[in-house]
Every structure is written in C-alpha cells, then in structure tokens.
Symmetry: C2
Subunit: 189 residues, 2 copies
C-alpha cells in the first residue's frame, strides 16, 4: 500500500518546497515568512506549528533542495562530468529557468552569515555534490576542483550585468571541467 501523507506532513512539505524555491532565488533576508506561507497557501500564524524559527526553516529548505538533487540516485543523474557540467553551467540555470536551482551556488555567500545549523546542512550538501562528482572522475582532487569551477562559475555568472562576459565565463568553466577530466589517468599528481 502506498505511503499516505497526513495533513500535517502535506502542509510541511508545501512550506518546505515553497521556501526552497523562494530562498534559493532571492536569498534568506529578502524573503519573509509571510511570503513563504502565502506561496504554500497558508497563513503566517500556522508557521510555528512546523518550524521553530525562520532560520530553522532555512536549514531544512536547503537540505531538501540539495539532497533531492545530489543524493545518490543511479537513475536520472549525469553519467559523466561533461554532461554534469553542461547541465549545471547552462544559461538556463543561471537565468532562473530551473524551477529549483542549486542552493550551493545561489546561496554560497549567504551561508557565512547564518547559524551553525545552516552551515552544517550546507556542508553536508556540498559533500554530497562532491561525492557525485567523484563518482564520475574517481580522483578526489579533480572532483574538488571541478566542483569549485561549477559552483563558483555559476555563482559568479549570476552576479554580472554583462551577458557576453557572463556567457564567456560559463564557457571557460565548462572547458575547465572537461580538461580536468581528460587529463585524469594521463598524469598521476
């Protein structure tokens, strides 16, 4: 028999999904609890039956967004680094055309301002991201460098108001990830 969500679990899930999207796109400070609850089709007062604070919501929302994307799932995940980078470093991802963009890139400099619960969740998510990269390249150092090129490249590209420059940056990062993967095996550092 299929899993039945209770009413409370459904509400919490809607709040988390709304929060993940809003926070990722606009950052922690720019989004109010009221906006999150409105998007979840609830009212402010109901919020504290599910979460102890706005910060608690932030941590759980990042966890949900990140773990759904990077938890080991053999099906429906990229089969090599080139595909991973192409998907990740796309203009669509940069231009908010993914429904749930990657919180690692979109929120990277937000995290340092938050409490330890949030930092913990972010750290776990980055580790999952790097595990996924490492499963595609074997070499850990290359996985780390590729992760920085992808997450850092996407984050930087989003901060620019010069589209040509931003495109150039994304392209250079894709080339960088590909050449890192290609050199693997050829030299053992």
């Amino acid at each position: 028999m299929a899993w039945q969500e209770t009413h409370k679990e459904q509400s919490k899930d809607k709040i988390l999904k709304s929060a993940a999207m809003l926070f990722t796109h606009h950052g922690f400070e720019k989004i109010s609890i009221d906006q999150v609850m409105k998007k979840a089709e609830l009212t402010r007062g109901a919020f504290y039956s599910h979460f102890s604070s706005k910060s608690d919501l932030y941590a759980q929302a990042i966890s949900k967004a990140g773990m759904e994307a990077y938890k080991r799932k053999p099906v429906n995940c990229p089969q090599n680094m080139k595909d991973f980078a192409k998907y990740y470093l796309s203009k669509e991802h940069r231009d908010n055309n993914y429904q749930q963009p990657c919180p690692l890139a979109f929120l990277v400099s937000d995290i340092n301002q938050q409490d330890d619960q949030v930092k913990e969740v972010y750290t776990k998510t980055l580790k999952a991201f790097i595990d996924q990269a490492q499963s595609l390249t074997v070499n850990r150092e290359i996985a780390l460098q590729s992760a920085v090129l992808m997450i850092g490249g996407l984050a930087l590209s989003r901060a620019l108001n010069d589209e040509k420059f931003s495109d150039e940056l994304l392209a250079a990062c894709k080339v960088g990830v590909n050449s890192l993967s290609n050199k693997e095996g050829s030299d053992v550092s």
Copy 2:
C-alpha cells in the same frame, strides 16, 4: 604641495571605508546605516548628505574595496599566479583576518539581489581582477578559470563548518591554479 582633503571628503572617505569593511564581512542586509555611521564616528542623520540611499553606499563601497585591490599597480602586487593564489586562497583570508577581504568572494551571491548600479560595479571589479590574472598568465581562458577557482574556492570555503574539509578545498584550488599556469604554452587549446 600635497593633496588636501576637505572636511566633507574626509567624512565621506571614512564612511566608505567603514562600509566596505562591514558589508564585505557581514553582507548588505545584516549591516544597518547606523552601524556604518557609528564605525565612521558620525550619526545617522549625516548619512544622506553623502549618499542617496543604502544601495548607493553599497555600490560605492564595493567599488572602493575592489578597485583599491585590483586596479593596475605595478608595485606591491603579485608577480606570478602561484603567489597570487597563495595569498588569495589563504586561511587568513577565509577566516576574516584580512582587514579588507575581497568583496568578489565574500559577496558573490549577494549581488544578484541588488540593483543594477551594484551589479555594474561588481562586474567592473571582476574584470579588473581578471585583467590582473591575465597579466600573469597571458592566456585569457586560463585567467578566467583561475579567477573562478580562487573566488569560488574562497567563497565556498567560508560557507563550511568543517575546517578540515575547508582546508582541503583551499589546497585543491591552489593546486588547480598552479597546474593551469604550468600547462600554459605546453598545449594551445
């Protein structure tokens, strides 16, 4: 005869210096105009004689912090990419031990939430950063990749609550920048 700052220019300069440090360390939203003015040893009311809004201050503060660091200055700037990366990807930089850290890394995901004036200033600063990198590596694509490894690596390292992991990430980025520089000339992609 030496340059004489007027009283007004001195005040504005103190405000900008205070704002650059506070914003870079704590982000735009976490810092109030009051905090900036207190650090500059002035009061809130005086603020609007110098700036039209908090956002205006943000743009000018980022510009000051960034341009002082990356405007072409033949003296006192790194002579090769390895030294540049060593200085930039240091634990001291990550751990807030530089008086004026790099706004490109510390604020990267903050910028997308701001108005176009701020994005414009950030874009100019990144271009100056990349020009400096390019003057040390010649090849533009390598300069772009090195910039992402440095800025993205530093930004990511600051978001983690696992110090060993963070150290490992910084180290991998340093290695990455160095191997990019070393391969230059050897292959013409």
